[in-house]
């Protein structure tokens, strides 16, 4: 198998692009795809100051590396979730990545700074671990991006993530969720601009990018994510991808090109109902935001 670009030995074939790449040209391919997503979806101004949500996994570290290569002024934010050794190891991968490259890393620890961790939240509330985790991270990332005056909050959601979420939202015709599923959400009412520059790359491609560029990352799956429905959706979509390469990209990118703007009205309706949390001041549809309610519940139950 030969590299489509240089005709040297290839190490990976990307059927959806009808291409094979060596290490050097795989890395270039990934950077080009991120650059194209940023351009096509008008995500970021050149040289923008951005905050990257980092977990220690392949996607966020690959994204941080690529955006740094592309010349953006980057800082990373890692949230310590308190999921035992898994979180300890994840944090060490992030710290090693940042220190080796001289990049700015901000850290928030849920347990010491907010009085709970994800296993506790899952045990004491009716939320699933993934729901508590997602809620906590969204709140803390949003707040850090606003407080730090960053131009955008950037997340490592890849094509597989977005296709799986889209699949779930379509299966249930959740119109409000579908209306919000965009690679760029503009800044508004105390929420930062949010962008997803990896939407043109699959998980296999971001993992391969890490391997060929020497990025060490947390390979193990989060122990609390077992049975997560998005993983099942991803497996289903990959079955279709093997039978018909390019299916995932068509599904997600065609939704962005042809359908999501039909839901602009639904998106606007959702925005009108957003107020402010009486406790922390964050944007919220209710008097007390979901993050403050979660903190309050875990504090009460922990007594």
């Amino acid at each position: 198998m030969k590299c489509t670009v240089c005709r040297g030995p290839a190490l990976i074939d990307l059927r959806r692009h009808n291409a094979n790449f060596c290490a050097e040209h795989l890395a270039k391919f990934c950077r080009d795809q991120v650059e194209r997503a940023i351009h096509d979806f008008d995500m970021l101004e050149q040289g923008a100051r951005i905050l990257i949500a980092v977990s220690g996994g392949k996607d966020s570290l690959a994204l941080w590396d690529i955006l740094n290569h592309l010349g953006y002024d980057t800082a990373g934010l890692y949230v310590g979730l308190g999921i035992g050794e898994y979180s300890d190891v994840s944090g060490r991968f992030v710290q090693k990545f940042a220190s080796e490259r001289g990049l700015e890393l901000l850290e928030v620890d849920l347990r010491s700074e907010h009085g709970y961790d994800i296993p506790t939240a899952a045990e004491l509330t009716r939320r699933s671990p993934c729901s508590s985790c997602g809620l906590s991270k969204r709140h803390l990332f949003d707040r850090a991006a606003i407080d730090g005056g960053y131009d955008a909050l950037v997340t490592g959601h890849n094509l597989d993530d977005e296709a799986a979420v889209l699949f779930g939202n379509v299966m249930r015709w959740q119109m409000d969720y579908l209306a919000r599923q965009r690679p760029v959400l503009p800044e508004r009412d105390g929420l930062p601009r949010k962008v997803k520059p990896l939407v043109r790359l699959t998980e296999r491609e971001t993992a391969a990018y890490c391997v060929v560029t020497g990025i060490d990352y947390q390979v193990d799956e989060c122990p609390m994510a077992a049975g997560n429905k998005h993983i099942a959706y991803k497996e289903l979509l990959n079955e279709m991808e093997v039978a018909s390469p390019g299916t995932k990209a068509d599904f997600y990118l065609s939704f962005q090109r042809r359908a999501v703007h039909q839901l602009d009205g639904t998106l606007a309706e959702g925005r009108e109902s957003l107020g402010t949390c009486d406790s922390c001041g964050a944007p919220s549809p209710s008097d007390i935001c979901a993050f403050c309610r979660l903190k309050s519940t875990t504090a009460r139950e922990n007594r």
Binding site: I12, D13, N20, A23, H157, V211, C222, H230, K234, E235
Partner: protein, 75 residues
């Protein structure tokens, strides 16, 4: 830690949970994935720190990590 006694076979290191398995070589990567009922979109094969292409034939005494690339959790 590699187990003792895999000489004369391909040693596979699998994840989630971490475990090992041996298969007789030579065996082509794409054939191996079919035998293990693994989707090629869901894994990378890594040998000596390098990705192994799908048309590569693995030989006895090769040690190969089969690394899953699907991640879930909070999106």
């Amino acid at each position: 830690m590699a187990p003792i006694g895999h000489h004369g076979a391909v040693l596979l290191k699998l994840r989630n949970p971490n475990r090992t398995q041996t298969v007789p070589g030579p065996v082509k990567v794409s054939v191996l994935l079919d035998r293990l009922e693994l989707n090629r979109e869901s894994v990378l094969l890594i040998r000596n720190g390098t990705i192994v292409a799908g048309d590569t034939t693995l030989q006895d005494d090769d040690e190969v990590e089969i690394r899953p690339v699907i991640s879930g959790g909070a999106l």
